[in-house]
Symmetry: C2
Subunit: 265 residues, 2 copies
């Protein structure tokens, strides 16, 4: 434990290069569906990204996650069949032009990626009463999602592409992976080295949906209540400028030092 | 877009220092309930961590999140009252000794932290049919959780403590923040600079629950099926070694270079 009689805001801040590394990881992370290479993932890399997941926050320190690592062609084929069925059902839910666009989107890399990982949530991991889950029952599932996001960021930093396949019937997936009743398969992930990462999310480039202006999503004191004082107005102005930097200049190499207080080192 | 005729696994990997920065952020992130300083958070820092959240993955590029920034004493007091009510109800759910331990835990920093942020999920943000949400309805909420985790990591790197308060009645919270029916308040967060970060999670140090051995949570092909081949056995051995490093040596400064292939620069 660190301590100081006169703590300052910069005491626990990572330096510019370190913060930039985190922001670059976050901004360049992609949901990868194609581009997978068959090259195997070394065990030390796999261990590190699993560790990143395991050090996610969890409600009541429950650590409700487990990891099912899928490498066998047979298992992958069974899961891929589930995807094909669900994907076909999903296409029927879109209208007209959207349906054709949807059909042509590449939405998974189950067979091409060398490793698939299913991250689960065991709702009974810590008994029936869990600190912090008493009033929001899904907090345990949220914990497993935090583990997914940690693993995703670590994978990106290790140069691994990751794609989250959610077009699957969960009941059928549980059968294939023999997941017991009390456990939820939260995420089915495809993982592998890639030929390239795209600059922007594929659905953004395809014109399916634009990146929303963050300043439109930030409110003050109440939902739907915009800036109503100098701090709020100034914050939203800064948010607009920061987002322009990322969207216009690509990955904005010195993002963490872009602010006024860029003096830490 | 990057491309190469002979892609290699190390092509897209961040260098050792950059990967270490990410792992250090992940391993030193804490759920902060006390230790908050009243010092204000500069707008450029706040803008960056909101940006980290906004660049989270989202199902169908839905970006379902909004952010309600709470600074007013009056709003904080109302939310704090909700916490006190829920906390008292929760205490009644624990038995005997656990109940006393629970009562004595510090579980929120709503009033002490300069800024609270509620991160929400607007289920109607992208119309009724969303790519990837057709078979798992909660994928949109999971997207907002990914935004929470991105913001949490960025906050840690910026030297800010963050605590997730889940002991709240969501319906009452929606009333206080005037959140419409279609929108879920996914996370209520307390944010501020801190006097110190703890080395380990508080519930771990308090003996409430131990950190689980990750190797026990990793399975192959099926849930509950352990290592059954040399790769799996070797991976689990590596996982045990890596976890020992983190738990024994604290934050393990050179974690990313611990592997065999630590030659990237």
């Amino acid at each position: 434990m660190e301590s100081s009689t006169h703590p300052k805001s910069t005491d626990h801040r990572f330096n510019d290069a370190e913060r930039n590394a985190l922001y670059q990881t976050i901004f360049s992370r992609r949901d990868v569906r194609g581009q997978f290479l068959s090259e195997p993932i070394p065990e030390d890399v796999l261990s590190r990204i699993l560790m990143a997941a395991h050090y996610a926050p969890s409600v009541g320190f429950m650590q409700p996650w487990s990891f099912v690592i899928v490498r066998a062609e047979d298992t992958k084929r069974k899961v891929h069949k589930l995807f094909e069925k669900a994907h076909s059902e999903a296409a029927g839910m879109f209208d007209g032009e959207s349906r054709e666009t949807y059909r042509n989107l590449k939405l998974e890399g189950i067979l091409e990626s060398p490793i698939n990982i299913c991250i689960t949530c065991d709702r009974d991991r810590a008994g029936p009463v869990v600190i912090g889950r008493t009033h929001i029952k899904s907090m345990d599932v949220y914990s497993s999602v935090c583990a997914v996001q940690n693993l995703w960021l670590a994978a990106r930093a290790e140069g691994l592409g990751l794609g989250w396949v959610s077009i699957l019937d969960q009941k059928c997936l549980k059968q294939v992976l023999e997941i017991p009743k009390r456990v939820i398969p939260v995420a089915y992930l495809c993982l592998g080295y890639v030929s390239h990462f795209f600059d922007k999310p594929e659905l953004q480039s395809a014109g399916w949906r634009p990146r929303l202006p963050l300043a439109d999503l930030v409110n003050f004191e109440k939902f739907d209540k915009g800036a109503n004082d100098p701090f709020a107005t100034s914050l939203l102005q800064r948010v607009r400028e920061d987002q322009n930097k990322i969207e216009d200049r690509g990955l904005c190499e010195n993002f963490a030092a872009a602010g006024k207080d860029a003096s830490s080192g």
